[in-house]
Symmetry: C2
Subunit: 483 residues, 2 copies
């Protein structure tokens, strides 16, 4: 494809996406596809000869779109969204077009320096501790997900507590990590990956707001120390996945300082809110964190993947993850004057992901990002009042930000049926969790295009579905589409 | 940004990339930027108000491009390339535009099914073992890099040998892994991450072609077993980073079968060559592999990140990496009729990366991909004959594919100066390794746009630089730009 052909094909793909954006609301949010349905429409083997772009675009419409769950739909309220935006898409397109691989500073200085710079911007934008800035002892790096960030934090903590012996010898002592019982599953996954073992992750009780109870943490640490185990790592969550609960960082941080434990703060969803000064209460105590992450791809208009991971002491992270073979040696690295981000995560290669974040911040400006967050928070508060005012429904957790946890009276089956009916309608998509062992519906408002009318419509649909009473459950032989 | 504004902005970015493609040869391949130079030109804080796209495009030209090392330049011969192509860029653009997150089948059935399907196509295209197909006991998944693939393979092997006890208890027995002394640093990194420990990775001697000596592997396993260590994992390489050496898979595989060891085959760079029947000798014995990966982003025209990872037994991989919290439960997963790729790697979230691979395979067709590989292999063979015919130079390793390892007579300093001079010229970029402890230049021919004239020019530049004799080394106070 010549540059001129690329230009024309590129216009056609841009047109396709613009049309998709225009029609986004018309699609069923949750794909109605059944297992195997997409594959059955694809040819069994790769084409021998090349095909024109028109064939791919046609198949996107006819085969792919019916199998897509529309995460960018304004009626997508499931999980936490993976929100994209036009400037993010364009920044990522530039990244694809440049095609640089930023494993080392030397392999594209701009890829490293722009990332460091924009991540320093974010420290100021969110009023994060100065230690997280690259101009201090720490610094930030873009990871794919908060799962990978948690793993890197855990590994650095593992090395710090073992004086970097475990990288050499393997896990050789009874380490123990802590997280709240509401922490994300990625903490459990990291503990397994790192060779610590699931039974050496102690889940700490939560209070009535689903936040970690510091006193329970103190007691767990004491009990573990008494039997000779070695506490080394605490994961605190700012905005849990189930209910957006906020662990008390200050109390937890002081406990960690007292026992010399690594405190990792996972603010994957909620962190973005701190662009608004009035919402910075979520980070109260974050200055005690050893590492921290949040996902601009969840709530800061930047398309997946973009998790931002900070450490207060970059030397420990780098020493943990650095391996320097001959073929990667270069003068810039040896000079010590540069950062090589390959030493900040597990993968060696890396995309130029800072571009999309740079485009987003510049396109919206800090004020625009604040407006975006404030709009969602206001919508969630309003939705919560509707729930409170309707006797058939109850709030299941506080609503500090833009996630509303609620349930219909009458037990799990009623709520499961209600959710199934709503999702099968294609008009909205929401997911569930369990709180106090009760099935709970989650309405997460963080979509780029979600406006007041969509939230209003969601509430109307929920009430209508509830008013339809209790339908028979789906017959046993019949799979529910995409649920 | 409205869809219509996105359309116009999208055209502008496509134009910017098309112009970049047209001018690619005019830029110095290796960025001449000095540490800190890019950052110094960026504003110290994020803008409060939004900026127009024109401002970003201007800064791309004025600030970013001077700091870019042009991986897509036809004169980029360093490392292994991270090659992109127009259809890959466009497929990735569609992925950004759709903005779906394919962690579960249910969160976008098409994202999972297209990935499974295209990876099954590749099994046939490369004539890989049928066990790697999803229609058999195994299957493929896209990972970001071969580093992550190696980690997942190692973890699954760790769980298999411990009957899935280590995920629960942590590393509790003296495991030992093997790789050749020429294996990629990612194996060492994986062994550290997984809590096995560097001293429990035994590096096996290589032969005169830099390939693993099977007899040395047998002896190492025997010696380890005698002292009570537990061998469990062997990483073999098809196309080492230093010299594209090919470990003898058949012999290694039989040893692994005999000792019940997991055999992971890392074909990150070389695997793509197997689209050509005449190059499938590289995979002789791959039917004995337990897992396998190669990187379409290295030599199959697909932009970073796209590593393709296969296992012969998906159940073991899934059991190793699966954690299922309430908020991810869904009927499709419970039915067992679908694959949830979140259980195939460390991150939870995932982009719709199959689109770019699908676009590439369909745009070029299998025949087009074969032509691309054959062209590079022929160019490398021709370059190797030029080296052989010039008395000042020698080949440092066999040239089975498209990497030529060579050196100038006269020792490391001569070669270092030669490389520095070439790279500082901006006209080509190549990197080095050490073979037999001697500094060796690597010319990797895998760029999308690299043609005969570029390889000819590279050889001319190399000879001219060599003919300039031995300049004084750069003064001590002066940093070498970007090296």
């Amino acid at each position: 494809m010549t540059p001129e052909e690329f230009r024309l094909s590129g216009y056609a793909v841009v047109d396709w996406i613009a049309r998709y954006m225009e029609e986004l609301e018309d699609y069923p949010v949750l794909s109605p596809a059944r297992p195997g349905e997409i594959r059955a429409r694809l040819p069994p083997r790769a084409p021998e000869a090349g095909e024109p772009l028109e064939a791919m675009l046609r198949d996107l419409d006819e085969i792919v779109l019916p199998g897509v769950t529309h995460w960018q739909s304004p009626n997508f309220f499931a999980y936490f969204s993976a929100n994209a935006s036009a400037p993010a898409i364009l920044g990522d397109l530039v990244s694809s077009g440049l095609g640089v691989q930023g494993m080392l500073w030397a392999t594209s200085p701009a890829a490293t320096e722009l990332e460091t710079h924009v991540l320093d911007w974010l420290v100021e934008m969110l009023d994060l501790p100065e230690e997280f800035s690259s101009r201090s002892s720490g610094g930030g790096v873009i990871q794919d997900t908060a799962s990978s960030a948690a793993l890197c934090a855990l590994l650095a903590a593992r090395e710090r507590v073992s004086d970097f012996q475990i990288n050499q010898r393997g896990v050789d002592r009874p380490l123990v990590a802590y997280a709240s019982a509401q922490a994300h599953s990625s903490i459990e996954k990291a503990v397994k990956v790192a060779g610590i073992g699931r039974e050496n992750l102690t889940l700490i009780d939560v209070d009535e707001r689903y936040a970690m109870r510091p006193q329970a943490l103190v007691e767990a640490i004491r009990a573990d120390k008494e039997v000779g185990r070695i506490p080394f790592f605490v994961a605190a969550t700012v905005g849990t996945t189930s209910s957006s609960a906020i662990d008390p960082l200050k109390a937890i941080g002081e406990i960690c300082r007292g026992h010399h434990l690594w405190l990792h703060v996972d603010a994957a969803y909620a962190g973005s809110a701190a662009v608004c000064p009035e919402l910075r209460f979520i980070h109260d105590g974050v200055e005690l964190a050893t590492s921290y992450c949040f996902n601009p791809h969840k709530w800061l208009l930047t398309n997946f993947d973009c998790d931002v991971f900070y450490v207060a002491d970059r030397a420990t992270l780098i020493r943990t993850l650095s391996v320097l073979p001959e073929y990667l040696k270069n003068r810039a690295t040896e000079s010590g004057a540069v950062l090589d981000y390959r030493d900040w995560h597990v993968p060696l290669g890396r995309r130029f992901r800072a571009l999309k974040l740079w485009f987003v911040i510049r396109h919206y400006g800090v004020e625009g990002l604040r407006r975006h967050i404030r709009r969602h928070v206001a919508l969630a508060k309003e939705f919560a009042t509707w729930v409170e005012e309707d006797a058939r429904f109850e709030l299941a957790a506080p609503v500090p930000l833009s996630l509303v946890c609620f349930r219909h009276v009458g037990g799990d089956e009623v709520n499961q049926r209600l959710m199934d009916r709503l999702n099968a309608s294609g008009e909205i998509y929401l997911t569930h969790t369990k709180l106090d062992d009760k099935l709970t519906l989650r309405l997460a408002i963080c979509g780029t295009y979600t406006e007041h009318r969509h939230v209003e419509q969601a509430w109307r649909l929920i009430r209508e579905a509830a008013a339809m009473g209790h339908p028979e459950p789906t017959g046993p032989g019949k799979a529910e589409p995409g649920q």
